[in-house]
């Protein structure tokens, strides 16, 4: 078990290094000098040089990368050009909202997706299966933010069931926090559930048509046991992979969903800093999101090893 975790952790390190490197190098791909952009049109060469020295932008590239990494590992992601506040603080302020969105969306996606998948898989090629496939196709074809907009139109504006200000920090008022999360989670989950539902359906249908299902059936094991204990566990592996994929997608769509529901999350931070070319914030936020996604993939990888005995290191 420990061997499994250790082997997976080892593989994550180069991942983090590469991603960090890519994120950091972003600003060097931008034409023109960052300092010039900060100072604006009225800048003269001496001011630009001074700012560059201040921000450490005149150092050799390799040195900057290393410095940035060293600082990042200790939790220091630099200062925002615009507000001069530490990037880490800015990000930490925004993280709860984003995590709530992604978490809520994942929960809804998995609940709906796995249930629909089991339903479709156990009735493979019959009308129920076709119905589920049609439903998931529909879900996949809708822009999530549009679903969000429609939900707001109906349930917030027309019916007034949910508060107009959707976000409340969880420590302030847990009940309100949950209520505010319902609509965005549904909007996010509806899109991501299609992926999970399809994978689950295929995996369950295959498991039920497999030779081991035949063996257990012929030996007299009840069908419900075969579905929920044997087919499901065998199906879990591709389903987990789909869920990991869904997390990556959810991070992306949650960035957009923040606009619809006015959630103060990383998305809006990222957006504004991209527009204003506030690079430390862009780098820091991007890095944090990537680290979280890599972390989730790591957890899934380990779970995969636990579920699939053949994937464990011998």
């Amino acid at each position: 078990m420990l061997k499994l975790i250790a082997s997976r952790l080892v593989l994550v390190v180069p991942q983090l290094l590469i991603v960090g490197f890519l994120v950091f190098s972003l600003i060097y791909l931008v034409p023109g000098s960052a300092a010039a952009m900060i100072l604006g049109d009225a800048a003269n060469p001496e001011d630009i040089a001074r700012i560059e020295a201040e921000l450490g932008l005149d150092r050799p590239f390799a040195e900057q990368v290393v410095n940035w990494f060293a600082a990042a590992v200790q939790g220091d992601l630099g200062q925002s050009y615009l507000s001069n506040r530490p990037v880490t603080d800015l990000i930490l302020e925004r993280l709860p909202a984003t995590l709530s969105l992604v978490g809520g969306g994942l929960l809804v996606a998995m609940l709906i997706g796995v249930s629909l998948g089991i339903l479709a898989g156990t009735h493979s090629r019959r009308p129920v299966d076709r119905g589920v496939t049609a439903f998931t196709s529909l879900m996949q074809s809708m822009p999530e933010f549009w679903v969000g907009i429609i939900l707001v139109l109906i349930f917030v504006i027309q019916l007034g069931w949910f508060p107009v200000v959707a976000w409340t920090p969880p420590d302030a008022d847990p009940g309100k926090w949950l209520r505010g999360l319902v609509l965005p989670a549904i909007a996010l989950g509806a899109g991501a559930c299609a992926l999970i539902a399809r994978q689950t359906r295929t995996a369950i249908a295959e498991a039920l048509a497999s030779k081991y299902a035949d063996t257990l059936t012929a030996a007299g094991v009840p069908r419900s046991k075969i579905i929920f204990k044997y087919a499901l566990k065998n199906a879990m592996i591709p389903v987990l992979a789909a869920s990991a994929l869904a997390v990556g997608i959810l991070f992306g769509t949650s960035l957009v969903m923040e606009r619809v529901f006015a959630f103060p999350g990383l998305g809006t931070l990222l957006l504004s800093s991209v527009i204003s070319k506030d690079f430390p914030v862009v780098q820091g936020a991007a890095l944090v999101v990537c680290v979280i996604v890599i972390g989730v993939n790591l957890v899934v990888d380990i779970a995969y090893g636990l579920l699939n005995p053949r994937a464990r290191p011998q």
Partner: protein, 663 residues
């Protein structure tokens, strides 16, 4: 360790109309044209393309024409503006029509970018293999795991807004998807046997890549391309909604949606036209992608009719009973209660495939009896129907196939066409099965102990400890050493022979009266096969259950069986005691099989041969199924269906002396 594949025993070898030498693409298009949904989807996409191309004369207004007056802006639908106006008074319908251009350009453009970047990477990784592949794949995985939106943000941050950066950004999001796909397909193709064959012929590697591997890429690329085009449209709309996509003056569906959100309190209708258009277009691409995918996969995914449990017809209408009015056929009574000596009686059984047309018979007029403690061999080649017979006894017929006539009596109780509920009493306790491939027959993610105790728990009230003890006993009895410890192992930790012993232990767990071994040794090595057969015989000696040994191997019949039943093209052609079968075959097919047995002792190097092929279900000739290959056939053989005459399905059974048919 590679196990050799079994001879072609497809589950149902039904004759299909040959498609003819059409090229792959034409075949796919033909299949697609039969799906109404796909046609509608294609038409919608064509319609959108038409709008995009001809927006100039289709649009009632200039999309950039402002009408910034209080009454002009944010109108709902009205005769002058069918879909209303936006916050600048611009006509929504016109902007929607022009927006189709952006949508299609972004959709196709980004997919093209993704393919151009991703496919070559995937091809190189898959073809080179080795360490380059290992490192490259890691890289691909890392990039693919990044949230797509971030990548798009990054590209736009660097290159600024506009169509090219949107296409590049979205293209980058998808490119690793294509790389993965190209790599997987290339890897799969590289290890195909026909690639080896081409290499042995001397064909150059490059030629192999282009001729053999690349064509397999076309289909999946089209499918994935269709689906991702839809995804690209959604992502573009998200970027425009956020305000970092295209410039706000350029009409795009996402931009319209973005504006709609800002105005949702004032003019809620505004959100619907762009949203629905996006929905319909993306849905159309998804449907098309799915339809192409199904068309490529062929008719294996046809819709399946659910077989209602039908009332099983009277066995006395079956061919032999009706023709001969015998009171017993092959030792089995035609009517009345089962013979008390028999563990299993099959009376006049018929099994058919229910498809779009008339039912196709797969098995016909089967009469079979197995006594307690008897080992009966069911011998047949592929297409003989022996697997279908086994599955009908076990109640494991695939969807679409059902029992049409006859009875199956297990310890006197009717189980043909029985419901799951009724079968549950019988399975495991009276009837058990061991299948061909032991590795596939055990769940790979559960320990052997879990599966063994599962069976025990299904039949006996045992505590967990008692169940484990009993499971260890069972494993020990079938010859697995270190049984208690081995309960915690997974199936892949056993060799083929050991895994088969585990499967046998599972079958025996509830002390069944009859065990059906369906090609249980075909996938095993010769020495292991002998061990498993010897084990089955030992267990029969100890527990006295009947065994139905289904096989295509004459040697298995010779070594292990007391009686033999020979099947050909869905019918039983001969039943006899095993020594009689080998010494004095009475059906020409049996004799021919014996003579062409490569294992047989014979002086000449040449083997006797049965010319021709086995007729597939659906193509059975009238009369004797073997007549067109039989050296003794006469005209009467093809006149009408042949019943079993004294255990042999041959009208010339009394005339022929078939010992040692010479080559």
């Amino acid at each position: 360790m590679t196990l050799r594949p079994e001879p072609k025993t497809s589950a149902v070898a039904v004759a299909k109309k040959a498609d003819g030498p059409q090229s792959g693409a034409r075949r796919v298009l033909k299949r697609l044209s039969r799906k109404p949904l796909a046609i509608i989807a294609a038409l919608w996409i064509l319609f959108i393309a038409f709008c995009a191309l001809n927006a100039d004369w289709l649009a009632p207004y200039d999309p950039l024409l402002n009408n910034f007056t209080p009454e002009g802006i944010l109108q709902g639908p009205n005769p002058a503006h069918w879909l209303g106006t936006d916050e600048n008074g611009r006509d929504t319908l016109s902007r929607l029509l022009y927006g189709a251009r952006v949508a299609l350009m972004v959709g196709f453009g980004s997919v093209l970018v993704a393919m151009v970047i991703g496919v070559p990477i995937g091809l190189v990784l898959g073809y080179r293999g080795g360490w380059a592949d290992r490192i490259g794949t890691r890289f691909v995985d890392i990039i693919d795991a990044l949230p797509g939106m971030l990548v798009a943000f990054a590209v736009i941050a660097i290159l600024g807004r506009g169509l090219p950066s949107v296409m590049l950004g979205i293209g980058l999001i998808f490119c690793m998807n294509f790389a993965r796909m190209a790599r997987a397909i290339t890897l799969a193709e590289r290890s195909k046997l026909y690639v080896d064959a081409a290499r042995v012929s001397g064909i150059r590697e490059i030629a192999i890549l282009f001729r053999q591997v690349l064509p397999n890429l076309a289909g999946p690329l089209v499918i994935q391309g269709a689906i991702l085009t839809g995804a690209a449209i959604i992502i573009e709309s998200a970027l425009s909604f956020l305000g970092i996509g295209l410039e706000s003056s350029v009409p795009s569906w996402g931009g319209l949606l973005g504006a709609a959100v800002r105005q949702q309190l004032v003019q809620p209708f505004f959100a619907f036209p762009p949203g629905i258009t996006i929905l319909l277009t993306v849905l159309a691409f998804n449907i098309l992608g799915d339809a192409i995918s199904e068309a490529l996969a062929g008719d294996s995914r046809k819709r399946v009719k659910r077989i209602k449990r039908r009332a099983v017809a009277d066995p006395s209408v079956a061919l032999t009973a009706a023709a001969t009015h015998a009171s017993r056929i092959s030792g089995v009574p035609t009517e009345g209660p089962a013979d008390p000596d028999h563990v299993l009686e099959v009376r006049g059984l018929g099994v058919s495939l229910y498809g779009p047309g008339a039912p196709v018979p797969l098995v016909r007029d089967v009469w079979l009896g197995i006594k307690k403690g008897e080992v009966v061999g069911l011998l047949g080649e592929s297409g003989s129907g022996k697997s279908m017979l086994a599955r009908s006894i076990l109640g494991l017929l695939p969807p679409g196939i059902g029992v049409t006539t006859g009875s199956i009596l297990l310890d006197g109780r009717e189980i043909a066409g029985a419901r799951e509920r009724d079968l549950r009493d019988v399975r495991g306790r009276k009837l058990a099965a061991v299948f061909q491939d032991p590795m596939a027959a055990l769940s790979p993610v559960h320990t052997v102990g879990t599966q063994l105790t599962e069976v025990l728990h299904a039949h006996f009230k045992l505590s967990r400890g008692a169940a484990r003890a009993r499971a260890a006993e069972l494993l020990d009895r079938v010859g697995v050493s270190n049984a208690a410890k081995r309960l915690n192992d997974y199936p892949h930790q056993f060799s083929g022979g050991m895994a088969q012993r585990v499967a046998i232990a599972m079958a025996l767990a509830a002390n069944p009266d009859l065990v059906i071994a369906d090609e249980a040794t075909s996938a095993l090595d010769v020495t292991t096969q002998a061990q498993v057969l010897d084990l089955l015989l030992d267990l029969r000696d100890e527990f006295g259950m009947g065994i139905l040994l289904i096989t295509h191997d004459l040697g298995v019949v010779a070594e292990a069986c007391d009686r033999a039943v020979v099947m050909y093209a869905g019918e039983i052609v001969e039943t006899a005691d095993v020594t009689d079968l080998f010494d004095r075959p009475r059906h020409p097919y049996t004799a021919a099989l014996l003579a062409s047995n490569p294992n047989a002792e014979s002086e000449s190097k040449r083997l006797a041969v049965i010319p021709g092929r086995v007729p597939l279900a659906g193509q059975w000739p009238d009369g004797c199924h073997f007549a067109n290959r039989c050296p003794f056939a006469v005209e009467a053989c093809t006149a009408g269906s042949v019943p079993l005459i004294d255990d042999v399905r041959c009208i010339r059974v009394d005339e022929l002396r078939l010992e040692k048919v010479a080559p």
